[in-house]
Amino acid sequence: MNLIEMNSICKSYRNIGFETKVLKDVTLHIKEGDYVSIIGPSGAGKSTLMAIMGCLAQPTSGEYILDYEEVGKLNDRKLSRVRNEKIGFVFQAFHLLPGVTALENVILPFVYAKNPPSNIKERARELLAKVGLEHRLHHTPGQLSGGEQQRVTIARSLVNDPRIILADEPTGNLDSKNGVETMKTFDNLIKEGKTIVLITHDSEVAKHAGRIISILDGQIAADSNVNYEEQARSL
């Protein structure tokens, strides 16, 4: 079954009377455990697509079913819960809370969790150790390097054990060595059964995914499996 099911999604923004159509009739299905890259030039609508996928924005029209739930029908309370439990975000600009230690940043999703486990600190520590930051628990983002910050971000995205990881240009602000490290982490997550949607404009990075969807001007231009045998399935 599809974990993510988008049917005829349109999104437009109104700006001083001007209507800009960012997404035009996007239909996209992603199965559980898939590793998908969304690629396209800037302004193509990648980030908007991710915002809708991550329940940060509602589509103007169309239907979005996430894990059998129609997102359009959810209120703020339920949407917040979906974001909290089902999705882990990784951002290009890291988006860590400034002035707050790595450990506390990783704990953030627990603050808003419905039933947080009693050993939240333990869990956060384990995850930071897993990304190799056990020696940086009490450092604030300002005291961490870009690569370290991105690893904190990844630990934070995993803390509530979500089924989907949404990564928006995760390597965009990193040097190539850290970029490679980050991609390795994602490769491992796929082995653990997570579903990953990776947004990038770097075709090399995109190749890590099993499926590459390219977006152009708000529409899906190509949808191809990197696995050559299944390439014929492209739309």
């Binding site: 940060l56 988006h95 809370l97 707050v100 953030l108 603050v111």
Partner: protein, 404 residues
């Protein structure tokens, strides 16, 4: 509990945005400090007024009836001759009256050889001392036999005694009023000048009978002091006194009273009227300063939210509801107000003590303004925090995460 977590996040927010927190705290602190100082000054003035009235010889159970229509110390008519000793006897017959002291009053020169001074001479009965509760410094007060025999004896207040005798012993000496010599038999204890410049020690007392026959050559009274059995009986006693005097003076139903009352409440009202106006103005000022404090909080929070759009976006991405964001910012505003309130109360206390210590203004510190201040603080935090908090909560998570 989710709400406790929001409180925790609010505390963290305040700690991380120290600059804004300090500014907001200052805003509230100044408002609350001025509020508490103003209330302390108001209370201090009230207490001083009360003690001043006590100095004027009014216990809560006594009042004076002065001959002549008018209000308080201001007479509308001169030389009212209607008040007599018969009135005094009728008043004493009232069941709620303990003491009645008839008085004549005349300002004149008192002479001791080459020394002389102008003072108020009162013709009174021996009960005067009981009614006033005024102790003797030396000698004795007027006695019933002095009254009966119209003796030429005099009791001096501290001011004329000092002027006439310097450091010499006045008891037993003779002083002259008009053409009669009076023997000094007693000295009143000194009370000291009041705030308003009234000198209660500037007086001399002679028997009422002597005053009538030798000094004023009149039988009518200047005033009657009435002491009721209990302060709660003062209003009904006053009404009874009014009925008796109106009947005795043959006043028709339409005529105004030809006498007036001076009561402790009356004096207090008279004295505090202007102070109340002052109080009202000061309360207005402190309300404005509290309002300013609230608006400072609101504006700084609004600016702070603009600076923290990303933070709000991040929180929303990881599951914060609108209500979580609302509560976090509301808590920040309430906490800042309470902190500012606490510091303001401290500053206010310090200022009140300083004003009193250096004799700038009388202050009196009570609990009420502090309770009031705290109520105001949380209220201000809530009222002025709600708009910024709602604004933060209704930011679109998508746009706020993208903002730089």
């Amino acid at each position: 509990m989710r709400i406790y977590k929001n409180l925790g996040q609010a505390l963290r927010g305040l700690r991380l945005n120290r600059g804004n927190t300090i500014l907001m705290t200052l805003g509230v602190m100044i408002g609350i400090a001025s509020l508490t100082v103003i209330v302390a000054i108001g209370d201090g003035i009230k207490i001083k007024v009360l003690s001043r009235i006590a100095n004027m010889g009014f216990g809560p159970e006594s009042f004076s009836v002065i001959a002549g229509a008018g209000k308080m110390f201001f007479s509308r008519s001169k030389n009212t001759t209607s008040m007599s000793l018969e009135d005094t006897e009728d008043l004493l017959a009232l069941p709620t009256v303990r003491l009645v002291v008839p008085r004549q009053r005349k300002r004149m020169q008192v002479i001791n050889k080459k020394e002389f001074t102008n003072t108020r001479i009162y013709g009174v009965t021996p009960d005067w001392q009981l009614a006033r509760g005024w102790k003797m410094e030396d000698g004795e007060f007027l006695s019933d036999s002095d009254l009966d025999r119209r003796k030429r004896v005099i009791v001096l207040g501290a001011t004329p005694a000092r002027k006439l005798f310097k450091s010499n012993e006045p008891i037993g000496k003779m002083v002259r009023l008009q053409n009669n010599y009076y023997r000094v038999i007693g000295l009143l204890e000194e009370k000291g000048m009041t705030e308003s410049g009234y000198d209660p020690d500037d007086r001399a007392l002679i028997p009422l009978t002597t005053s009538m026959s030798r000094l004023t050559h009149q039988t009518y009274l200047h005033s009657i002091k009435v002491v009721a059995l209990d302060s709660s009986q003062v209003p009904e006693t006053m009404e009874a006194v009014r009925q008796i005097l109106r009947r005795n003076h043959n006043l028709s139903a339409l005529a105004d009273d030809d006498f007036r009352f001076i009561t402790p409440e009356g004096i207090m009202l008279w004295v505090t009227e202007s102070e109340q106006a002052l109080n009202r103005m000061l309360i207005l000022i402190s309300t404005v300063s509290l309002l300013v404090g609230g608006i400072v909080i609101m504006n700084i929070l609004l600016v702070s939210i603009r600076e923290r759009v990303r933070e709000i976006g991040i929180r929303r991405c990881f599951g914060a509801r609108r209500s979580d964001i609302t509560f976090q910012f509301l808590f920040e505003s309430v906490l800042v107000s309470l902190l500012g309130g606490l510091m303001g109360v401290g500053l206010g206390l310090a200022m009140s003590f300083a004003l009193k210590r250096f004799d700038i203004l009388p202050t009196h510190i009570t609990v009420e303004p502090f309770i009031l201040a705290f109520m105001f603080c949380s209220l201000i935090g809530l009222i002025f925090g709600i708009h910024p908090a709602r604004k933060a909560a209704f930011l679109s998570p998508e746009e706020s995460i993208r903002s730089q």
